[in-house]
């Protein structure tokens, strides 16, 4: 068994070896830039940890894991154009540093590079790895479309929201694990169980993100607190608050999100606190986390083979940034 740290180190080395000194430089520089910005490398780490859980050969799993990371970074590149996001991981986004055209085309190239690495899976599992990956790639696009739709829709339910974050965020984490299992050579049913583990963990992860956006301490978190409130993003907290608020509180909430008063963030936070939205969201997050753990439990491998993945999951739900 490798520790998370060992696995992350291996991924970092592999990404450094990724040679992008190709031409035209205008196309490949933004790709190098994006991949060098770092981030948690969650997805390749999950892939390798899942493979390791079933004593698979991590070196054979490395290229598809890198493919997943390239794909994830490609989605960020295009999402940042669509969301007009100027900063990513503390640095300018590609579309801001260069322009939208560069971000579109470098992103497209990254998508093709992602497939190249996915298809470096050993031949006996290649088609299976591809199918899981490709189905997921389409779902991630669907999730992003729902996310954009929600910006202008006013009747979003919590169920709609959970389905959106499942597609936009959770399925890629889930697929990373499932691909890791396939690469290890273990039975499909374990891949399915880890998929469901990852899906639930992914939803918990996004709910944690929603919480941190409102309640994290600014200096610990990469972005300014309250960004979701400022932009009227229909997060779990927003939807839950509208579900629970009544009378004057509901009117106040509506007013705040329809206007952009200078104290909007603090006023909304006050209402969230009054309505216990923080606790409600934490409870919901914990429910998804526990469900994830239930799927982990049914996998019949020795507990010490599960320990790193469980530690990883716990860190995700306890993180403060």
């Amino acid at each position: 068994m490798r520790t998370i740290e060992e696995i992350q180190k291996r991924i970092a080395v592999a990404l450094t070896e990724f040679d992008l000194r190709r031409k035209p430089v205008e196309l490949y520089q933004p790709i190098s830039y994006t991949l060098s910005l770092g981030g948690k490398r969650l997805r390749p780490a999950l892939c390798l940890m899942a493979c390791d859980m079933f004593a698979g050969d991590l070196e054979k799993a490395l290229n598809p894991a890198i493919g997943i990371e390239i794909f994830h970074n490609f989605t960020l590149l295009h999402d940042d154009i669509m969301d007009k996001a100027p900063i990513r991981r503390g640095e300018k986004t590609v579309y801001k540093k260069w322009n939208s055209n560069v971000a579109i085309l470098s992103g497209d190239t990254m998508m093709a590079l992602a497939y190249e690495y996915i298809m470096k899976a050993p031949e006996n599992v290649r088609s299976k790895v591809f199918s899981i990956f490709n189905k997921t790639a389409i779902e991630v696009c669907e999730g992003q479309q729902y996310d954009m739709n929600f910006e202008t829709q006013n009747n979003i339910t919590i169920k709609d929201y959970i389905e959106m974050i499942r597609l936009k965020t959770a399925v890629l984490l889930a697929a990373s694990l499932k691909i890791g299992v396939v690469l290890s050579g273990a039975d499909d049913e374990y891949g399915e169980a880890l998929y469901r583990f990852g899906e639930n963990l992914g939803i918990a992860f996004q709910l944690k993100d929603d919480l941190l956006d409102v309640f994290s301490e600014v200096e610990k978190f990469g972005k300014t607190t309250g960004g979701d409130i400022t932009t009227n993003k229909k997060t779990y907290l927003y939807l839950k608050a509208f579900e629970k608020a009544e009378g004057e509180t509901l009117e106040k909430l509506k007013y705040l999100f329809e206007n952009n008063d200078s104290d909007k963030v603090n006023e909304v936070k006050k209402i969230y606190e009054k309505l216990n939205i923080r606790e409600e969201t934490e409870n919901e997050m914990n429910r998804y986390f526990d469900r994830a753990m239930d799927f982990m439990e049914i996998i019949p491998v020795n507990e010490n083979r599960k320990s790193e993945l469980i530690k990883f999951a716990k860190n995700l739900s306890r993180r403060e940034s």
Copy 2:
């Protein structure tokens, strides 16, 4: 042997069967729209004709051929954003009819759908088909980047230009043929020969496009004549004219492209005529066409198995729109 018409009919039917009634509709409607706009379906036709040339099973080649067509349409969707093109095949482009975000994300989804269809190739040739396709997908992105670079570069040579159109246009035609050969089960060397046939034909095809943009009769061609001149596009004609022009003619040419006088198109055309640019371009086009035919000749199959592909190539170089 099937005729071109039979093959194109088969492709049209397959594309009608392509079910895009998926959700969210905001994502899939632009994809349906794009694929329903028609076009010549050159790439899947080339793929199936190449397969047919070696008596391969066309039904097994159909899905990868459709994958190539989806990929091609994906590139158009994203190119139209980058080039700010309002009209494609006589209809509004996706980014104009909807918006850039829709065009980016629907395009990304099309790219994933393209891979899905490519990977429906029979298992024994699947990895080979994928490799040809994926290498080509990356080259097409590189070609588009060179094309964008050229807009602001002033030292473009004809050699640079040919390499750009080779990547942006020719390699996908070439790969379509090569994939068709692989799907037929014929030897790699024939795939290679047809690749070179397609590469040279593709360059001839683009030179013909450059010619038609200036010298086609408006009513026959889908777009307004002279668009490339209006936008100062560094086409073969432009580069050849600057190569040949001297003295006053060179000064006039510079003046015309640095300004936007109302009679710019006609004045440039006059200079092109004076410098014999039309003939020069036709000659260059014919050289690539002849080279393509040389590669066709070395393939040791009966002449009647080649006839449809040769007819197709001749039609391309003789077309008036």
